[in-house]
């Protein structure tokens, strides 16, 4: 029943999308300057059908309707309601439906919210967006239908992988999807802008909000994913340079570059072609990421159920998309009027783009190199974190420096010069204090620390200035401050993290340099859909005689049979104490991983601050539009 209803809504979406394509195509030849109300109506219907299809799937999960193959394979009737809901997008078919929903949502929002824009530009954007929607609908219907029926209807489902039953991971995919599927709208708009020959400034203004929205969600999505990896995977790390993580980071680099170059284009200073290229590249990177993740050609710690036919479809789509974009770009290549000089504020903004594109290249090469080498020579390799750290870290120094001096370039010359020097003096002082506190010998790390402190101090001064003058770009200050703090805390965390691995039996005590860890008790509990073995550990600090109780768990889920290790984290603003235990195959020995990680929460907060800048910019724009 729900299966038929779901398919009906999907067909409805398909039909309305086709109608929109037909109508917009017809409208291209029309002379009048008004978008016919029919298009608005169809767009509303399309949105209604698409959202309804998603709700039908959601309902099927909530009601545990196992007549749907998708629900049977990924759910279980005694799973908590929250995870039934998140199970909807926790699998390939459901996430594809979510993907389509976001495409449709952005299509309608663009149509209804973009005002005072060129008609043919709007119509063409809608046309391209709906072509994307159609392609993914066909993919959904032919290859990955979430509404496929199963007969006879099974009594019970197979269950959701317990490692995915987690609040952070439940909200992580929708956030990331809004981020990188949202980038589709400026991909469509870029192609439309080329064909409709809309002037560069109105193009910049019409896509800026969308870039901000997708950038914000991408940032927060990556953050939530990192936090999840930190406490769930049990290694105490938050970023592994894993291919799956890289594929979320690559669109982020391009979005960040786009965000900055739009600032230049907005003021009619040029970079039109470049902004178009970046808009196209963002969505291309998103689809590339999806291809890498879904096709299973990469070896990742985050495995997804993979299927070569899906990979083939996404790959063909990707190739088609890239080639038609290149074709449109060269056929309608935009006229450029460069007005900026090498040492202008604009040049500094463009410097950001150089860095972002370089970072993108580094990550892309590191991610794809194993695949290429395997295809060409057959050697199996993997590229580890050292590659990324070695290559990227030195480039952080000029990046941090440019982020500090770039935005203030214009007013360095006049009375602010004294302030500028004060900032430098303060930064050096702060740095020296830090240096004596941490006694780090590595020159590179010291330089990075110094320049991040310099950036932090400068932005704090800017923040103070902005209150006095009220004409300084507050969103830029907040984001740059967030970035400076992020780099600073990442390195401090890196320097001070302590890790000890050892094996313990119940009742034993282990002494490390600063801590005493006592294995006090072991308890077994039965909880709704799993059995839990809880260890009680007493961790006391030898220096200040404080002690903490940590309770790591080993969870045994039976549907499907899986064992997970739940880290126990005692967390405060300045330091995390992190403990995981695992049992070594049927012995009474427990394998303990004990870590002390400073400033973890401040790393998360820095990223939030970084993304907050985007939010402020978004609302500032809305306010300016009203005035």
């Amino acid at each position: 029943m729900l299966s038929k209803l779901g398919i009906l809504f999907i067909i409805g979406t398909l039909f309305t999308s086709l109608s929109i394509i037909f109508l917009t195509f017809k409208e291209l030849k029309a002379i009048d300057n008004l978008i016919p109300s029919k298009i608005y109506k169809f767009s509303l219907f399309q949105l209604f059908f698409s959202i309804s299809s998603f709700f039908v799937l959601l309902l099927a999960y909530i009601l545990s309707d196992f007549s749907l193959v998708n629900v049977y394979e990924n759910s279980h009737s005694n799973k908590p309601l929250f995870y039934k809901i998140s199970g909807t997008w926790g699998n390939h078919e459901g996430s594809l439906l979510l993907w389509i929903n976001i495409l449709v949502l952005f299509s309608s929002l663009f149509l209804f919210l973009t005002k005072n824009s060129d008609k043919s530009f709007k119509i063409l954007t809608l046309l391209f967006q709906n072509l994307l929607i159609i392609t993914f609908l066909i993919f959904l219907l032919t290859n990955s239908n979430p509404f496929s029926e199963l007969f006879p209807v099974p009594l019970e489902g197979l269950g959701l992988n317990p490692i995915l039953q987690d609040p952070a991971l439940a909200i992580h995919p929708p956030l990331l999807y809004i981020g990188f599927v949202g980038s589709s709208i400026y991909f469509s708009a870029a192609l439309a802008a080329l064909i409709s020959k809309i002037d560069s400034q109105s193009f910049a203004i019409s896509i800026k909000s969308w870039v901000l929205v997708s950038w914000f969600f991408q940032t927060v999505g990556i953050l939530v994913g990192s936090i999840w990896a930190y406490y769930e995977l049990g290694w105490g790390g938050y970023w592994f340079w894993d291919p799956v993580e890289n594929s979320s980071l690559m669109p982020w680099f391009v979005m960040t570059a786009l965000l900055h170059s739009i600032l230049v284009l907005e003021r009619r200073i040029g970079l039109y072609s470049w902004v178009i290229v970046l808009s196209i590249l963002t969505f291309t990177m998103s689809v590339t990421g999806t291809f890498l993740v879904r096709s299973g050609i990469l070896n990742s710690v985050h495995t997804f159920a993979s299927d070569p036919s899906r990979g083939l479809f996404i790959l063909s789509f990707l190739v088609l998309m890239v080639f038609s974009s290149i074709f449109i770009f060269f056929k309608f290549s935009p006229k450029e009027n460069k007005k900026y000089s090498i040492f202008s504020k604009e040049a500094f903004i463009i410097a950001n783009n150089w860095f972002m594109i370089f970072f993108l290249g580094v990550v892309l090469i590191g991610t794809l190199y194993p695949v290429l080498l395997d295809t060409i020579t057959g050697s199996k390799i993997s590229v580890g974190p050292p590659y990324y750290n070695l290559i990227l870290a030195p480039f952080l120094i000029p990046l941090l420096f440019l982020m500090t001096s770039g935005p203030n370039y214009k007013w360095i010359s006049n009375d602010v010069r004294s302030l500028f020097n004060l900032v430098l003096v303060l930064s050096v002082t702060f740095f020296l204090i830090t240096f004596f506190l941490i006694k780090e010998n590595n020159l590179l790390i010291n330089l990075i620390l110094f320049f991040s402190i310099y950036l932090i101090t400068q932005t704090l001064f800017d923040f103070y200035e902005s209150f006095k003058k009220k004409n300084i770009n507050i969103s830029r200050i907040i984001s740059h401050l967030g970035f400076g703090l992020l780099i600073f805390f990442i390195y401090i965390n890196h320097i001070f993290s302590v890790e000890n691995n050892f094996n313990l039996k119940l009742g034993e005590t282990k002494k490390t340099d600063y801590y005493t860890i006592k294995f006090v008790n072991l308890e077994e509990q039965s909880i709704k859909n799993y059995k839990s073995i809880i260890g009680y550990f007493n961790v006391s600090n030898k220096k200040n005689f404080t002690s903490k109780e940590l309770r790591p768990e080993i969870r045994v889920y039976d549907k499907p049979f899986t064992i997970t290790y739940e880290a126990s984290i005692n967390s405060n603003l300045f330091s995390d104490t992190y403990l995981t235990m695992s049992n070594i195959s049927d012995t009474d020995v427990f394998n303990i991983k004990f870590q002390v990680k400073p400033f973890m929460n401040l790393i998360w907060l820095s990223v939030l601050l970084l993304s907050l800048g985007g939010v402020l910019n978004f609302f500032k724009r809305k306010k300016n539009e009203k005035n």
């Binding site: 992988n161 490692i163 995977l233 049990g234 290694w235 299973g296 050609i297 990469l298 070896n299 710690v301 985050h302 495995t303 370089f358 290249g361 580094v362 090469i365 590191g366 190199y369 194993p370 080498l373 395997d374 050697s379 199996k380 390799i381 993997s382 590229v383 580890g384 050292p386 590659y387 070695l390 290559i391 691995n501 050892f502 094996n503 499907p560 049979f561 899986t562 064992i563 997970t564 290790y565 995981t580 235990m581 695992s582 070594i584 195959s585 012995t587 020995v589 394998n591 303990i592 991983k593």
Partner: protein, 142 residues
């Protein structure tokens, strides 16, 4: 005047290409130094010019009944059904580490029969096997 403009452009272009070539060279140099090659126990046995100082990955199945543990480390045997290697490791093993299951260990060889692992790779579900291992086990099965 025109000539001067061309000259400036040319020098900018040359500088940019020099920087790009340098960056590309740098990236691939670091990449080459930091890739981890994957070996099965048989490949380790049959390769003569193994560099013992280079980090590698070894993969196969954990041999049944081979896991031993003491206070600081665990030891087990990784087999690809033809050859085996002893792996020593101190640290937390991933959730699905068990006898008879696939495993990938990262670290350095002490000699051709003994491997010191720094990391055992985590896997998300019980059916998961690293693609590189899947290929090797299929090859051996044939």
């Amino acid at each position: 005047m025109l000539f001067k403009k061309v000259k400036i452009r040319l020098s900018i272009l040359l500088t940019l290409s020099a920087i790009s070539v340098f960056l590309i060279f740098l990236v691939f140099k670091v990449l080459e130094d930091n890739v981890l090659y994957f070996y099965s126990p048989s490949e380790i046995k049959n390769t003569n010019d193994l560099n013992l100082n280079k980090k590698i990955r070894v993969g196969g199945m954990v041999k049944k009944g081979s896991i031993q543990s003491n206070e600081t480390e665990i030891k087990f045997v990784v087999t690809d059904l033809n050859n085996e290697i002893i792996v020593s490791y101190s640290g937390t093993v991933p959730a699905l580490f068990a006898e008879g299951k696939g495993v990938v260990a990262e670290g350095r060889l002490r000699d051709k029969k003994f491997f010191i692992a720094k990391r055992i790779l985590a896997k998300h579900d019980e059916n998961y096997m690293p693609p590189e291992l899947r290929g090797n086990l299929n090859k051996d099965a044939k």
